[in-house]
Amino acid sequence: MIWQLDLSILTLIVICAFATIMVKDLLSAAIIFGAYSFLMCLLWTEMGAVDVAFTEASVGAGVSTVLFIAAIHQTTRRVGFRKSGRGLSKAIGLVAALLTGLVLLIAETDFPGFASPFSPASLHLSPYYITQTLHDTNVPNIVTSVLADYRGFDTMFETAVIFTAGLAVIAILRRYKKDDQCELPEPYIISEGYPDTIIRFVARQLVPFMQLFALYVVAHGHHSPGGGFQGGVIIGASFILLAISYDTRMIIGLMSEKTNILLGNIGVLIYAGIGFLCLLLGANFLDYSMLSKVLPATDKVMARSHGMLGIEIGVAIAVMAIVISIYINIVSCGKYDKDV
């Protein structure tokens, strides 16, 4: 904990937050919100939480800003401004915010000190994970082992929530009128969007390496910061880069709506399927040590490591498909025909 850097980054974050609210142009507010996300990731890295910083960088600063800009593209850039009753509503809002802040400050004095070694979490819970993880599961990254093995049930429901979010966007936005649909072209036809050769060339060269890096992040999540969520979002972001530099119809040709929903399903199915397989083999749900009966030449400890890799792959597939599906739905307003 470096207090000098802490203070400077927190000042920048407060300035960014004020600017996001006070700028009256919605596109600029979305972009400054992207800068706010960048700085939050920096703060979490400085506190030592690298997995959280990775997820915030990929989801908050990357995909979330692009989705905001796509949504503003469909609607308007103008902030609505009510002319009547402004003074009273502002006063009530100010009083409510101040009261909430005061209550939180009073409750905060009851907490144990920041990172003190005598808090209940540090006394009873953390020493067990720190000493037992390498012995139980042979995985050095404690965060990944807690997420995927000791608390694997929660992660399964998180993946299901991501899939539900994709379904919700389809339910709200998708339109199926017959006369709206046009024929989708075959893939790899270079359409006449805005023909910018430089951006197309560089995007075409960079996308394979981005996907390779994302696969490295998924597979190496046991030893370095990473894991399933971050890798899946980076693959989705590489497809969004292709969609931006060419146009959306190319991505619809590559990953159609049916493929996206199918892959989202398969991701959650892999996760729940591995848990169910452990159930069939005679142990609890998501107890990977029983997988040593099925996998050849592994003992119980290595079977837990391989089980974690399996569910990370399932999470990555689901997240990638849902990110692409949400982007295409927002940008084409649910009609799947735009050459944006």
Binding site: D196, I198, I199, V202, Q205, L206
Partner: protein, 108 residues
Amino acid sequence: MDIIVILLSVSGLVFFFATTVGILRFPDFYSRMHAAGKGDTLSSLIMLLALVLYNFHDFNLANLLVALKILLIVVFIFMASPTATHAIIDAGYESGIQPWTKKPEEES
């Protein structure tokens, strides 16, 4: 070895400072993009080079791999940052921003 690291870091910081002054003080959008695109890339190269050299205090295989990864970041910034600059300037030109011209002096 430490002296080279300090020298490179300070010169990278000087270039960053020049970039920031350029962004604040130039009168026109196009000149500000010049400062941002070029100065940013060069400063990143010099500072990351300083960090690569600082890593070589003890010379073993793990440190070599980390140095290669940092050089990978440098290669990526060299490819991506000029493209992003080109994209922004193209968007500005298509939207119709006029370049700044020096106003003729008027006699009083």
